[in-house]
Structures are given as structure tokens and as C-alpha cells.
């Protein structure tokens, strides 16, 4: 496949790794990287961890240095938003009024935070996705608020709670599910996560939703569905993300909770997608998925880039074992694979009581997942076994 140019929309992790990978595959055409944020590509995980804690400055977040950008010869267009795409004419519309003809297109526009209705313009209410969000929240934490209320006990919420707590602030976490992370990790492990919060002095409310966030211009309190009221100076809303696909409406590409791709990450002729915005059938798990993890953005960015360089006949399916980590307090939680609440779960090392363990998940006789609390070595070893497709019985018997 001979291409003159490749345009990448979304100048973050997936987009940048895609660009780098094109050069590593000796693609010598023009690469244009278009991103709506004013910042050069930066890393998001520290935004809820070291950067929010005040331990790291902005300079530590860069995903790449100016020398590398120059070496790769990328045409970087920051502060520019794509507002439309027409697949039949292969034309991209930008918010600066310019239209761009594209040859290969890689979509990596990621996702943005869901908000609580009615809080969009309220002072003291934050979401956390970008550098500007984290900087604003960090200043609010610097001011020493009386109480930080985190709505949503998912990974981002838990990390914010952990960071705020480590800064000596009073923290409440409100989770609508019976346990935090219950949908991902199941209730038993979710209960362990709740215990980790409580052990660090966080006030945790589970199984109850938020009725309203009150305040006159500035947040004052959070009212829960069961009538409880929590005074709040800062509220952080961590209730999930939605993929950034609005700009593709009417483009001719299929959109359904993400950009719909085939098994090889192809969304249309000469168009691929990667990272938090991409939905594709992962044949290894026989499941159509959209993965919101750092490692996936890196791997899928590279895969989707390479896909634009090969002919259809040579295209390979993208079949990763998804993996992510989350740092909460002194726990490093890692999950590899795809797990469901009804999978068989067995602890293979450590125990839930110590909150240091590795748990394996089996389905239909196969190893499908491994979860570790402070067990990185085990997670990576078992991840390799998932890649090899071993049976659950063999995994349980394996010497790891």
C-alpha cells in the first residue's frame, strides 16, 4: 500500500504512538497530527497521581521531547479541532476554517468525562481528563478545602480520593453500586477496594446515588438519594467517559459508542481508529470491545498505523490481552484480560485479608483474566499464559 500522507486526529497517546510507529515502519510520507488541546502530547495517568499530588511539574508529563518530534518530522497542528469528515470525498474540516484532503486517516480522539447534569457551571465541581482539569483541581486542593467529595468510586475516583487523602484532606467517596468497581472486579474484590479506602480514613458511601449537588454558583453540599447530606467544598465527578465521535456524525463511518472498526482496526477504506475512541471485535475474547487503558492506546495506535500501510489481504487482526494498572494509596492494582462477574475466581497467591494477592479468572475452562493487588510479577506472568490460551486448570497448576 503506497500512501502519500497520513492524517492523525487526536494528538495524545494513541495518536502520537501511531505517528512514531509509522516512522518506525519507514513510512516517509507526510504525517499530520491534529489535536484540539493547546498542549504538546502529554501523559494522563499522572494527572490523578503525581501531578495532582503536587509532586510532579508539568515538564514531567511530556510524552515526547521536541527533538523526537523533529526527528520524526511530524506536522503538528495543536489547538486545532476537527469538526467534520466526509469519507466519500476524503475531506476533513477543521475549526480554523481550513479543509484538508486526506489519504490515510487515523482517528484517535479519545474520550471525555461524563458530567453530573446541573453542575456544568458550578464552581468547585471538577472532572478529570486533561491537564487543564488536573491543574484546576490541584489549585483547588492547594487551597485546603474542608471536604472533598468524590462522586463515583471507579479507578479515577479512587485515585483522586487517594491523592487528596495523602494531601491530608477529608475525603468522601459516593458510589452507586453495592461496592466500588463492582461491575469490573465483582462485589467481593470491590469490598476489598472499599476497605482500602476506609483503612486510609476515607468516608465511603456505597449503594447510593447522588440526588443533587447544591450550591449558589459555588458547590456547598451533595445530597444523596437516601436523604443523607454531605457538606462539600470540592466535588470531583468520576462517573465514566464518552468517546469523542460527534465530529464524525454524517461522515459515512459507523459510530456506536465509539468508532466501529473491523477486527483489524479498519473503520472504512483507508481509515482506522485507535485508543479510547475505537470499538472493534477482539477475536481472542470473542467480544466487541472499547478499551480505556493506557497500554491499549499504545498498542492499538501502533496497530492502526501499520494497518494503513498494508493491503487488506495482509492485514492482521488486533487481538491484545487488555491490561491496566491503577495506583491507590499503597496498592498497585493491575488487571489483565477480560473478566465478568460470573467467571470462576481463584486466589493463587496471597489473600484478600492482606490486600496483597493475585486472582485468576476462568470461563468455559479457559484462563481469561488475572487481577493483582501489589503482585505485578504474577500479573505479567499470567498475562503471558492468557496470551498462550492455556486452560484454567493448567493456569492454576502453573509454577509462576
Amino acid at each position: 500500500m503506497n500512501r502519500r500522507s497520513i492524517t492523525i486526529v487526536g494528538a495524545s497517546l494513541a495518536g502520537l504512538r501511531a505517528a512514531e510507529s509509522l516512522r518506525r515502519h519507514d513510512f516517509d510520507g507526510v504525517i499530520t497530527l491534529i489535536g484540539d488541546e493547546p498542549h504538546a502530547p502529554y501523559d494522563r495517568p499522572p494527572l490523578s497521581k503525581q501531578y495532582l499530588a503536587g509532586e510532579w511539574g508539568e515538564d514531567r508529563l511530556a510524552l515526547t521531547g521536541p527533538e523526537k518530534l523533529a526527528e520524526y518530522g511530524l506536522e503538528l497542528r495543536l489547538g486545532t479541532r476537527a469538526t467534520g469528515f466526509d469519507l466519500s470525498r476524503r475531506r476533513l474540516t477543521l475549526d480554523d476554517g481550513e479543509d484538508v484532503d486526506v489519504d490515510g486517516l487515523l482517528i484517535a480522539t479519545g474520550a471525555r468525562c461524563r458530567r453530573l447534569p446541573g453542575t456544568e457551571d458550578m464552581d468547585g465541581v471538577f472532572v478529570l481528563r486533561g491537564l487543564d482539569d488536573s491543574s484546576a483541581l490541584r489549585s483547588a486542593l492547594d487551597a485546603g478545602p474542608g471536604r472533598v467529595v468524590v462522586v463515583g468510586g471507579g479507578f479515577i475516583g479512587a485515585e483522586v480520593a487517594s491523592t487528596a487523602r495523602e494531601r491530608g484532606l477529608e475525603v468522601s467517596v459516593i458510589e452507586a453500586l453495592p461496592q466500588p468497581l463492582a461491575r469490573v472486579l465483582g462485589e467481593e474484590i470491590g469490598a476489598v477496594c472499599a476497605e482500602v479506602h476506609r483503612a486510609h480514613g476515607v468516608d465511603v458511601h456505597t449503594g447510593v446515588g447522588v440526588e443533587a449537588v447544591d450550591g449558589d454558583g459555588r458547590v456547598e453540599r451533595v445530597r444523596l438519594r437516601d436523604g443523607r447530606v454531605i457538606e462539600a467544598d470540592v466535588v470531583v465527578v468520576g462517573i465514566g467517559v464518552v468517546p469523542n465521535t460527534e465530529w464524525l456524525e454524517g461522515s459515512g463511518l459507523e459510530i456506536d459508542d465509539g468508532v466501529v472498526c473491523d477486527a483489524t482496526c479498519l473503520a472504512g477504506p483507508g481509515v482506522t481508529a485507535a485508543g479510547d475512541v475505537a470499538r472493534w471485535p477482539n477475536r481472542r475474547f470473542d467480544e466487541v470491545m472499547r478499551v480505556e487503558h493506557w497500554d491499549n492506546a499504545v498498542e492499538q495506535g501502533a496497530h492502526a498505523a501499520h494497518r494503513l500501510l498494508v493491503d487488506d489481504a495482509d492485514a492482521e487482526p488486533f487481538t491484545p490481552v487488555p491490561w491496566f494498572w491503577s495506583d491507590q494509596y499503597d496498592r498497585k492494582i493491575q488487571l489483565a484480560g477480560r473478566i465478568r462477574p460470573d467467571d470462576e475466581m481463584r486466589i493463587v497467591t496471597g489473600s484478600l485479608d492482606e490486600r496483597r494477592f493475585a486472582a485468576l479468572y476462568g470461563r468455559a475452562g479457559r484462563l481469561v483474566g488475572v487481577l493483582g493487588f501489589n503482585r505485578p510479577r504474577h500479573v505479567m506472568r499470567y498475562k503471558a499464559l492468557i496470551e498462550q490460551g492455556v486452560s484454567f486448570a493448567d493456569a492454576l497448576a502453573a509454577d509462576v
Binding site: 512514531e20 510479577r377 505479567m380
Partner: protein, 63 residues
């Protein structure tokens, strides 16, 4: 080619070990050990992948 790990950044999540078990190992003490400090050129692409995939950007290559 020499492997340089910034241990202040490394958080022992063992991604590098998953990619190149011959070069990196996270042991039961949860510390990362570099098994071969100066690997041969044939390991360059694996090592480059480690550099890219390390979520902490803790690995670099000294020529």
C-alpha cells in the same frame, strides 16, 4: 547499547518483563532487576518496545 533504568520512576509493573523476559525481571521483592545490562544489537527492537511501553518512561537506551 546499554539499558538504563531510572529506579525512582520505575514502579515495578513488569511490562518490560512481559516484553523482554531475557532482559528484565521483577522478582518477589517487587523490585525490577536488569538481567543483561548490555544486550546485543539483536535485542534493540525489543528494548525499544520496552522504552515505549513503559508507562513510567523509566527505561532509556545509552548507546
Amino acid at each position: 547499547m546499554k539499558i538504563v533504568v531510572d529506579y525512582d520512576l520505575c514502579e515495578s509493573n513488569a511490562i518490560c518483563m512481559a516484553i523482554a523476559p531475557d532482559l528484565f525481571e521483577v522478582r518477589d521483592d517487587d523490585f525490577l532487576y536488569v538481567l543483561v545490562e548490555e544486550p546485543g544489537e539483536d535485542r534493540r527492537s525489543a528494548l525499544e518496545e520496552c522504552v515505549q511501553r513503559c508507562p513510567k518512561q523509566a527505561i532509556s537506551i545509552a548507546e
